[in-house]
Symmetry: C2
Subunit: 191 residues, 2 copies
């Protein structure tokens, strides 16, 4: 009943995510969003609510996409150390080729301190990452690869924090050696 949408909802949301990811919340105007999403202003409001609601939906989409990547990488069978090393190396390459950083990290920095909805989402995403690291570390212990680790929960928390620090560092400098040094020392705690 009624006319059908001419645009794909998920596609438009994905574009919105890229705009917010690139410019942040405050620096993204509705005009920017309308143009990049290739939909009409009114369709944006009808479909996603206001700017803030759209931002939260974009955050959710990012979690679904990027969060899943971490979980999948951590669940890959074989060496846990190798999986972790690969995650950090991929992160370095991304930081060097793309200065947007991590959308979740950006959201933490820009809004989590004064927006409850954003804080809840970034915190939830962080918790999921902790869980993925934690499970991987437990498996590493079980399989005898990570005998030296005592408090796997603490190490999991450390790893995510370190990952965010690495990404942030990549925004200030493009020096590969600096990023590589950070990863080398970070991974030394699971050696």
């Amino acid at each position: 009943m009624g006319r059908q949408k001419e645009f794909d909802r998920e596609e438009a949301l994905h574009k919105a995510m890229e705009v917010f990811w690139t410019r942040g919340y405050g620096a993204s105007s509705i005009q920017d969003l309308v143009e990049h999403m290739s939909i009409n202003r009114q369709s944006l409001y009808d479909t996603f609510g206001d700017k803030h609601a759209l931002y939260l939906q974009a955050l959710d989409r990012y979690r679904d996409i990027e969060g899943r990547k971490i979980v999948e990488l951590m669940e890959r069978p074989g060496s846990v150390k190798r999986n972790l090393r690969q995650l950090f190396e991929i992160t370095i390459e991304k930081a060097l080729s793309d200065r947007r950083g991590c959308f979740m990290g950006n959201a933490m920095s820009e809004l989590a301190g004064r927006c409850q909805d954003t804080a809840a989402r970034t915190c939830g995403n962080m918790g999921a990452a902790h869980e993925a690291f934690y499970r991987a570390l437990l498996r590493g212990k079980r399989e005898g690869e990570l005998k030296r680790i005592r408090d796997a929960r603490a190490v999991a928390r450390f790893l995510y924090s370190s990952l965010q620090g690495l990404v942030l560092t990549g925004k200030a400098t493009q020096d590969r050696k600096t990023l590589k040094d950070i990863v080398t020392v970070t991974l030394s705690v699971i050696d």
Copy 2:
């Protein structure tokens, strides 16, 4: 020669720094700044230039104040480990009582990716912190406290990145245990 300023330049700049630190660049309006700095709109423009120039000067002031704190703490005689532990513990307490985070970290996240001036300042500040950590680590090695450290440069870079990750984590969660876990594991690399 002419009338004197009715406000103190440094005091006004300090207030501006607090506004930018709290709200970020984009979310701080000239009106906010005028009100918190307790100076006239025109005086702001005459004294500091435009909004962007004021922001850079606020960043410089932050570096002078907070950067010096790190340097001084790292130069304190006695145990290097103790000094580092104290730095990280202070950072936890600040994160729990004040959600503004680190102005430099905020600047990296919000602007360093697309503003050359900001990138230069955050990068310079990071370099200074690296240097302070590096010198402290060297002293620790020299004095026999940190025998296990091989690449002090890499560890210095790691420490600053970890510090930023910790602060960012504090924006998403106020859970003390989470932050404490991160610090415990971070400091385990210099144990």
